[in-house]
Point group: C2
Chain length 433, copies 2
């Protein structure tokens, strides 16, 4: 190449912030063999990590070999999945089947719902809360203090007033506090984000109690909107005896789940289902938006709906139910193992998230990919988490603890505020050991 | 399963809106063999479509076989790529290399930039415009009428006043109109979205002229923010002799490109680069957001950065330059073929998008995946578009035209308003044939 002819002729080789092996600095292309060898090394690291991946609600028990030929196509479900696309390489046929399945699961008629496959939980929340805001433009957003941080970020993006509601020890929204807050802001409509499974404690907000509270405070159906963030538990509760239903027969406006959590998609994705009437209202100002596209991202992944379709169709309802029950059983096992060892632990009903004292050593938490918050840590017992993994984890934790607490200068912290005094195993609440 | 025990026991088999073959209705799981056969059929359809995929700016010349083993992991680069993640199965090492490469390309020092791999152009625009709004909370958003519809959608989401600016025939923003609008709204800061390649005509807004216009109207650097939507052309202009530079040495705030367009990633993705100082400002209210995560989507795809990394590293600068030049050359070929056949056509400088009369028959447009708007259609000459494909397209178009225009009741429409009178081949402007 001659000098100064194009912008790239001025490019200097630059390592920047990145890993030297991976740096993209050469002018000529790298051989496929060299790249394959870097990828092989990376896959080995990933395999090592998978064995100790305990703290995040992602299913790592994946087998998508059947779908590999699709990776050599760019698939794009741009815009509304129900309108068809002039982009011919799309997978909307798969997407609509997935949406139908969820509509059926959450009890809404096929001619009354609208939805799409999102890029993950945050996009689902972005959409649900936007629909709520467009229905009730001066509505206040209420959400519990245990909500995912994306909710507060979204309130800021959307320039909405956001009111944080207290939670019970379980992590569930405190309807007494909600009531007081609703009464204090009675003049404005309410847009409520509910957690069907909080991130940290796996607590399920009581949809019916929240709706009763709204109505009790004089909010009629046209003055509130309920969005359900059901990222992980939306796929689990329907399979558990006695669990409350996620259902559009209740006065809710939208539900979203994540596809990479329980269902185990390799890429982050999710499903959003809402009522068609809201989308029709949203599309009123078609000339302003210049499109009938009511999605957030527009150009949308065509592979994600196929991963979801495959995950659902391969398992069937029975397969899914078995997986849910197995996760819950293993979570109970972990809670028992911790308690038996004198470690305070909490496990909410219908949850696979076990909460316990935060390990003193962050290195240990990183090694097991634990998610920590304040004084507590948690393990999310997903499909890839075996009894053997849990046993290794507990025994390593006990061994480390015996070192941390050896000279009695350090003692297990009291975490009664986080998990309740009856679950705490500190010297004061030492009730379970 | 016993009746009424769990929510799923009530589920009825329901075909819903979806394709019967693909419907997910059975309680038991489907065999891998049956699913594989459905996927094989689908891949055949995709292969057929690829041969006539002319209207969209996605490169369909993909070979990611080396990366297939990664599809059996869920990878997640949750949050800020530079902060590291406690989610151990991440690819931030690859992501930072990709970001460094773009920072270098767009001339910003490694300690002065921030960025991340997005889910596509829309997320890049969502981010850039949000950063602009947070810098200038009462700023007005200016964007040309030829902008992607996502810009208008974003203005509504963010509750920003949006002013639409006229364009020249080329599709480029009209700085005379911009000036008049800026003067009329002088009291408020300006947030400008620029198109580095408009969707329909591939016109490049003149960044330097826009900045001169802003300064000429009395807008000092602290009262404007420029976001560049460089979805497709951001990867092409740097490789073209005489093209204007995308550079942070100019007074711009952010640039975004799409990864599935020129670079050919199988899933929609993109790159957003902005100035680190803005992100530090955004993170001021950490307690409110509850996180240092300045991304839009939070849970982010770990595969996309590896696809981008592979695409860049495999080609090198020289490989990329060859591909850019080849696309431009083939676009010129198509324009010439159309003109030689008496069909008016326009091709902007440094562009691979050929604009011409909209085919009378929508079926023909669908068959070739043409993107149409009003009286015009376009072909985007990407890497998978060969001379053979273009020849087939032109000869089929001519054949169809001879049928549509046979009885002289229908005549080619005048599209001088869209592509300029010197490019138009209607009976009045018939200058080129």
């Amino acid at each position: 190449m001659k000098k100064k002819e194009t912008q790239i002729d001025n490019i200097e080789e630059n390592d920047g912030n990145c890993n030297t092996n991976l740096a993209i600095t050469k002018c000529t292309g790298e051989t496929q063999a060299n790249l394959a060898s870097l990828i092989t090394q990376y896959v080995e690291t990933l395999n090592q990590c998978s064995f100790r991946h305990l703290g995040y609600p992602t299913n790592q028990d994946l087998n998508y070999d059947v779908l590999l030929p699709l990776l050599n196509f760019h698939l794009n479900n741009a815009g509304d999945p129900f309108l068809g696309s002039s982009f011919s390489l799309n997978s909307t046929a798969f997407e609509v089947c997935v949406l139908d399945w969820f509509a059926n699961l959450w009890e809404i008629e096929k001619n009354e719902y609208w939805g799409y496959v999102t890029t993950g939980g945050t996009e689902g929340n972005l959409h649900g809360i936007l629909v709520g805001r467009e229905q009730l433009p001066d509505g206040i957003l209420y959400t519990s203090q245990d909500s995912h941080y994306s909710i507060f970020k979204i309130a800021r993006m959307y320039r909405m007033q956001c009111v944080k509601v207290r939670t019970l020890v379980s992590g569930e929204i405190d309807c007494v506090d909600l009531k007081a807050l609703l009464v204090a802001h009675k003049d404005k409509p309410a847009i409520i984000n509910l957690n069907i499974g909080t991130t940290m404690k796996g607590a399920v907000d009581d949809v019916e109690l929240v709706i009763q509270t709204l109505e009790g405070c004089g909010f009629t159906r046209d003055r509130f909107y309920v969005h359900c963030d059901a990222a992980l538990f939306g796929m689990m509760l329907p399979f558990l005896k006695g669990a409350s239903r996620i259902s559009f027969k209740k006065a809710i406006g939208s539900v979203t789940i994540s596809g990479h959590k329980f269902l185990g998609c390799p890429i982050p994705c999710g499903v959003l289902i809402t009522r068609l009437e809201y989308i029709n209202a949203l599309s009123r100002d078609i000339e302003i938006i210049g499109s009938r596209d009511a999605t957030i991202t527009g150009s949308r992944c065509g592979h994600a709906p196929i991963f979801l379709w495959y995950a659902l169709k391969r398992r069937g309802l029975i397969g899914l139910q078995n997986e849910v029950q197995n996760c819950i059983m293993n979570a109970v096992y972990l809670q028992n193992r911790l308690r038996d060892a004198g470690i305070g632990a909490m496990l909410n009903e219908f949850s696979n998230i076990v909460i316990f004292e935060r390990p003193l050593d962050d290195e240990f938490s990183r090694r097991w990919s634990l998610a920590c918050n304040g004084n507590i840590a948690h393990v999310v017992v997903m499909q890839h988490v075996t009894i053997q993994m849990l046993d290794s984890f507990v025994s390593e934790f006990l061994q480390k603890r015996s070192i941390w607490f050896k000279d009695r200068r350090f003692q297990p912290l009291c975490i009664a505020n986080d998990i309740g005094s009856r679950n705490c195993a500190c010297s004061m609440h030492n009730s379970i050991s």
